[in-house]
Amino acid sequence: MIHPVDILLILVLLSVLFAFASSRLPVLIRILAFQGVVVSIVPFFLEHEMTAGGIIFTTATLTIRGIIIPWSFYSMIKKMGIKREVETIVSYNASVFASLLLIVAAPMLSHKFNMISFSGGTLITSTAITLVVAGMFLLMARRNAIAMVLGYIMMENGIYLIGTALSSGAQHIVEFGILLDVLAGVMIMAIMLQSIKQKYDNLDTAQLSKLKE
């Protein structure tokens, strides 16, 4: 039988696959929101007994990751009238292929790590590695600035997963600190995106190379 955590992690991996294949920003944001929600409910299934503080922090994480961040992106797209298509450097079919390679390579890598033996699925380390590398790939392979920020959030999701696997209860404060960092980062990025948009009328990061002192 499959551990419930593993089913969640399969959903996360599937969301990576769809994120690589999707060419529209609203879809990408929705996928990231779904991924955020799934990643943040993993601790509920991982630990046998949750402390009250743990439950509060996990719920707060869920709210920020699954609702606040995606919603802010959504409203930003609406308010600024951003084009919905994502410009790519690597094409979508090649991206899907890369994600498949990644999903194969990550388990091999996670066996090498041999980090810890925790009570949970076998999949958690490899999912975390996949998320981190996939986030990096989105950062590199997309030219749209919002898609790049979404890649950054995907990376953070991976880091959170590793954190949950390693920690046993007491680390929520640290996790929460990281999350607040990300939230602040996203807010700053939002302001930056707004100025890029005002200056160049689109979010193509290739335009930024024109900047002169």
């Binding site: 039988m1 499959i2 593993d6 089913i7 399969i10 991996l13 599937l14 696959l17 294949a21 979508y92 079919n93 899907v96 994600s99 498949l100 999903i103 194969v104 388990p107 076998t122 999949l123 490899s126």
Partner: protein, 306 residues
């Protein structure tokens, strides 16, 4: 054995009926009454009574095409465990045999289309040859997964009796992706809506329909019947996977199977009603998704089943 042959004949007889279910669902979504459920039988009878017209520029290949494609479909159906009972024929490795028998049928359809020397049909043939290549990759990925799970290479080992529920028990959630991948293959191989629109009036956007434009009368009837059987063939996979219930009584079993099959056809109808046909360059992307899903399911299963 007798039971298998009866089921085989029943499957052939029922395939036009089920194809009409799709039309009914589409008519329901369009707020129309739609053609009667027996429409395809009437069409087949009408076509059989007609005479044939052959272009002067065609050769014997053109006349061979419909017969070869229909017999390939009938042959493939012989190996298919209908309603979870054992198939008429079965040997080790028949999965690969059946896939290439269907490929042979497709080859003759393409050859017949090229034989007419019509530019439209050549274009359709090129598309018909291209998309199944990706489907083949998906099919083999799924077969690798099934082989991994059961250790056997026959359809009988995957779809008869309690074997199918066994697949679900061993693999679990990844089987969902296999079902989705199978459904995408079904839509592609049978030229259904997101890939090809069977009801369109514009030859430039067709895939399958444009290849059979020059066939008339009984020939066209054979092609239609072959297409219905092929659709039933793929739908049976999906139906067995989504409803792996095995009842002891053969009749009850058959009724459950028929219900599951109707579910699959209704799903095809709903897909056709709510989706528009993809742009041609997006189709390969769509079919590739099925490969990605199947590959993904295989990798995930390899992680668990050691």
């Amino acid at each position: 054995m007798i039971e298998s042959i009866i089921l085989w004949i029943l499957a052939i007889c029922l395939s036009p009926f089920y194809a009409a279910v799709i039309l009914k669902v589409k008519a329901f979504f369009g707020g129309k009454k739609g053609p009667p459920l027996l429409i395809h039988y009437f069409t087949l009878i009408k076509l059989m009574q007609k005479g044939s017209v052959y272009s002067n520029s065609t050769t014997f290949i053109f006349k061979m095409g419909p017969i070869a494609s229909l017999s390939a479909a009938l042959m493939a159906l012989l190996f298919l465990p209908i309603a979870g009972r054992s198939p008429v024929l079965s040997f080790n490795g028949d999965v690969i045999f059946v896939l290439y028998v269907l490929g042979l049928g497709r080859f003759f359809t393409i050859a017949a289309a090229m034989d007419t020397a019509s530019p439209f049909e050549g274009m359709g043939a090129a598309r018909e040859a291209f998309f199944p290549i990706i489907c083949e990759a998906t099919m083999f990925m799924i077969l690798i997964l099934f082989f991994q799970l059961t250790g056997e290479l026959t359809f009988a080992a995957y779809f008869t009796g309690i074997q199918t529920s066994g697949l679900w028990r061993v693999a679990g959630a990844p089987m969902l992706f296999v079902v989705m991948a199978f459904f995408i293959i079904l839509l592609t191989e049978n030229s259904r809506v997101p890939v090809d629109d069977p009801a369109t009036h514009l030859e430039l956007t067709m895939i399958h329909e444009v290849m059979v434009l020059d066939h008339s009368g009984p020939d066209f009837g054979l092609i239609e019947l072959g297409a219905f059987i092929k659709l039933l063939f793929y739908s049976t996979f999906v139906a067995r996977l989504i409803c792996p219930i095995h009842a002891a009584h053969p009749f009850v079993n058959f009724v459950i199977f028929c219900a599951a099959l109707s579910g699959v056809y209704v799903a095809i109808g709903v897909t056709e009603s709510v989706m528009a046909r993809f742009r041609m360059d997006r189709v390969s992307h769509f079919v590739l998704t099925s490969f990605a899903l199947a590959f993904f399911a295989t990798v995930i299963t390899l992680e668990f089943v050691k």
